[in-house]
């Protein structure tokens, strides 16, 4: 049961195509598991199509454009069948048996284990999937069962999407598919539930800052891996 969803503003920006790609990636991953939000997107796209249909059009001659389009079309290769993998295909059997969400397959082809994980503490690892130039950092965090994540604040907005396992903090418990959006003012100390490790997709608009006395030592490392500091 998914309890935490993207806000209606985020869903609207996503359906309209105005949401930054990094954030859209999190929404898309959430949607794979959330029929409820899929329904909302379906309606928001309907709304988009009505606005699209009603928009003023100019009375411009488009015959040149049409001619050149049909000329180009003649040189198009014939369409191939859509051979993109579906979410359940190509799932290699392994001990962890995690299915990689379709939206993340452009970064992870086989298994979370194939990523380059950076160990920040004995129980906490992070793997960068992509650094947008001048933008957000997209990463996976992997925390052992029952472990605390270091206390941290966000210097920018952070979106977290639970891919596997569960964690809790002062405000609640978050399970697979939950979408959590935190702003810069938030300071929290998440704990992973005892039954399984927890893997999350995170998008950071700016590096997180660890506030514990010992984990503060991690800040320069975390900053070094964030695109804003390059």
């Amino acid at each position: 049961m998914i309890n935490y969803h993207p806000s209606i503003e985020i869903l609207t920006d996503y359906a309209a195509g105005s949401l930054p790609l990094a954030h859209s990636l999190c929404v898309s991953t959430h949607l794979e598991r959330c029929p409820e939000c899929q329904q909302q997107i379906r309606k928001l796209e309907m709304l988009g199509s009505h606005l699209f249909d009603q928009a003023q059009t100019e009375s411009r001659q488009l015959s040149n454009l049409k001619d050149s389009f049909f000329k180009n079309l003649a040189q198009q290769p014939s369409p191939k069948e859509d051979h993109k993998v579906s979410p359940q295909e190509d799932k290699s059997i392994r001990w962890d048996d995690y299915a990689i969400p379709r939206s993340l397959r452009q970064f992870i082809t086989k298994s979370y284990d194939d990523l380059t994980w950076m160990r920040l503490s004995p129980s906490f690892k992070i793997a960068t999937l992509y650094n947008e130039e001048g933008g957000a950092q997209i990463a996976l965090t992997r925390v052992k069962a029952g472990a605390h994540m270091p206390t941290h604040t966000h210097t920018g907005d952070e979106i977290t999407l639970v891919l596997e396992g569960a964690f809790s903090d002062e405000s609640g418990i978050y399970r697979q598919g939950d979408f959590i959006n935190r702003d810069a003012s938030h300071k929290h100390k998440p704990i992973v539930t005892k039954d399984a490790e927890c893997i999350c997709l995170t998008v950071l608009d700016a590096p997180i800052e660890f506030t514990g006395w010992l984990t503060r030592l991690l800040n320069p490392i975390v900053r070094r891996y964030h695109p804003h500091s390059h």
């Binding site: 609207t12 790609l21 309907m46 709304l47 249909d53 452009q106 933008g135």
Partner: protein, 191 residues
């Protein structure tokens, strides 16, 4: 089964899309071109006023996608207008991504294409028809300030934050206008 709500002209276009899919009918594609290309161009010019070359490029790209993907159009999942809107939206995102100052390697193809309702629902067609009607009728009755914000987000491609900056209004005002509008259109139901 009944199809998604279509006006008579829309029915002609649905026939055309089948002709494109099944018979590679270029005359049918030409009719779709005449109808949709001006709309796609306006949609692009709303986001980047004056960028006629960009609008031409994206419009042609949308027509190529219609040609190549006509066989994937499913009337029970979306009306043809909605399908073309999503193609235009995705093509615009893709164009801006490849040509912007901050290029991104995130492939948008993976982020929107899968969004289909996979739970087969026998009432889906009727439900969809009702939703379409409600949205269409509701949209005509919205106060101009609410419609303006929706246009900024959907047509001009602005986020809520950018719309607030441009209209010199607090973000909270923009959010509440969108929420009110979506509520009236019965898109947004508070959870």
């Amino acid at each position: 089964m009944e199809r998604a709500i279509q006006l008579p002209n829309d029915e002609q276009r649905v026939t055309d899309i089948y002709a494109v899919a099944q018979h590679r009918d270029q005359a049918a594609l030409g009719r779709l071109f005449d109808h949709y290309v001006p709309k796609v161009r306006s949609f692009c010019l709303a986001a980047q006023p004056g960028a006629n070359l960009m609008a031409d490029d994206i419009a042609q790209e949308v027509m190529i996608r219609i040609w190549n993907k006509a066989h994937t159009y499913k009337p029970e999942s979306a009306s043809l207008n909605t399908w073309v809107f999503t193609l235009a939206r995705n093509a615009r995102i893709d164009y801006l991504r490849r040509n912007s100052r901050h290029q991104s390697d995130i492939d948008p193809e993976y982020l929107w294409e899968h969004v289909i309702d996979e739970n087969a629902d026998p009432f889906k067609d009727a439900q969809q028809k009702r939703d379409q009607e409600r949205i269409q009728q509701g949209l005509d009755k919205l106060p101009p300030d609410q419609k303006q914000v929706l246009s900024k987000v959907y047509l001009e491609g602005k986020t809520h934050k950018e719309a607030a900056e441009e209209l010199s209004l607090p973000l909270g005002t923009i959010k509440s206008r969108v929420r009110l509008a979506l509520h009236k259109l019965t898109i947004y139901v508070k959870r």
